[in-house]
Symmetry: C2
Subunit: 243 residues, 2 copies
Amino acid sequence: MHIAFDADDTLWHNEPIFDLTQDRVAELLRDWVPPEELGEQLNRMEKRNLQLFGYGSKGFTLSLIETALEVSRGEIPGAVIQEILDAGKAMIEHPIELLPGVVETLERLASQHPLLLITKGDLFHQETKIARSGLAERFAGIEIVSEKDDATYRRILDRYGIDAERFVMVGNSVRSDILPVLQIGGNAIHIPYESNWELDKIEHRGAEKEGFFVAESMLEVPTSLQEIAALGWTAPTVAPTDA
Amino acid sequence: MHIAFDADDTLWHNEPIFDLTQDRVAELLRDWVPPEELGEQLNRMEKRNLQLFGYGSKGFTLSLIETALEVSRGEIPGAVIQEILDAGKAMIEHPIELLPGVVETLERLASQHPLLLITKGDLFHQETKIARSGLAERFAGIEIVSEKDDATYRRILDRYGIDAERFVMVGNSVRSDILPVLQIGGNAIHIPYESNWELDKIEHRGAEKEGFFVAESMLEVPTSLQEIAALGWTAPTVAPTDA
């Protein structure tokens, strides 16, 4: 069985760092936009820029700057733009804070299964985060991708020669970590994060089906894996006998 | 034999698009810095930001904005920052212009060898460029990496189960495409591009050794491959005989 993990908001905190950056910028822009309204403006800008920038910290910083120009109608002083840039850099350099149970759970599982890391976002930033997390050597493979859809998971499973039914994805995003994996016939364990990114707020619809499990934290993942196993993991390895 | 190709300035023009963007920004900033001096300021900023941003178009755009703030001591109007952002976006959206001989050479070689694409830079931008190039299906594998050093090439060769002596890398960058591949015992064909990016201007030192070939364009790559073959490609496949 191959077990794959999402990284941001599954292994370590990520969204609070983006939120903190956004709050800082909201404060900087309060002369032009009420702080509570910045989020909506920023989301609109991010969606507009998504097909040019993709996901990740550098595109987010560019969208922050462009939002600042938009809400101030270009009146924002250069010094404030520099502060936004500095907030973006601070976000990129932010220390990695692992979520509860990550180290012990990965250690426990790594002795029994090949583990993969499958994460979406900025290639360079994700690599530096993985390096700084100290977790890299727990993983038999690390895949940094620009989008997590069923085609992406199929490509990764092909690359490693994994059957979908013997694959489990663990992550906090229903849209990126759960639905596409169920779609291709794999198993998925959802660990909801405290909050969820705006673009990711979709219903669980379609997820109430075979192969879908929920854990409250990484510490519960081994239990979920046992449930998956009990439902017939080992079945495909039993050769049919001629009666 | 696996043959791998760099993408930017090997399969398609890239540097002129960055240069064009830089020229546009130099024009926008001529009230604060003589256009011919912007390049040096920008290079300094890019080097300073490299360990935060890595390589690629979004980091380049952020460094352009930060350089504009620096040379103007924050006096640059918001409208000009927006123009710089727009120049960065135009760079990202710029149409792909293939270099001479690319299509026919890849087509010819793909029928005889598994071809790989190994390119450095922004994951999302590289993927969109590969998609827009129309070349993706020529390649048995596509690897987008954040740095091209010997460890990167070793990892890729391991992943595909390729012996270094049966691997040829084709690219325009001595530092990224040639030296690390020779370092791990592979073969490399250098196709010099018209100009070379500032950080890449290092000597050919260390490259005058076994496995190193030069071609003037993609059209000459098959000839270089024949030279490599003549030097003993097939030797490792001949089993030793007991005398």
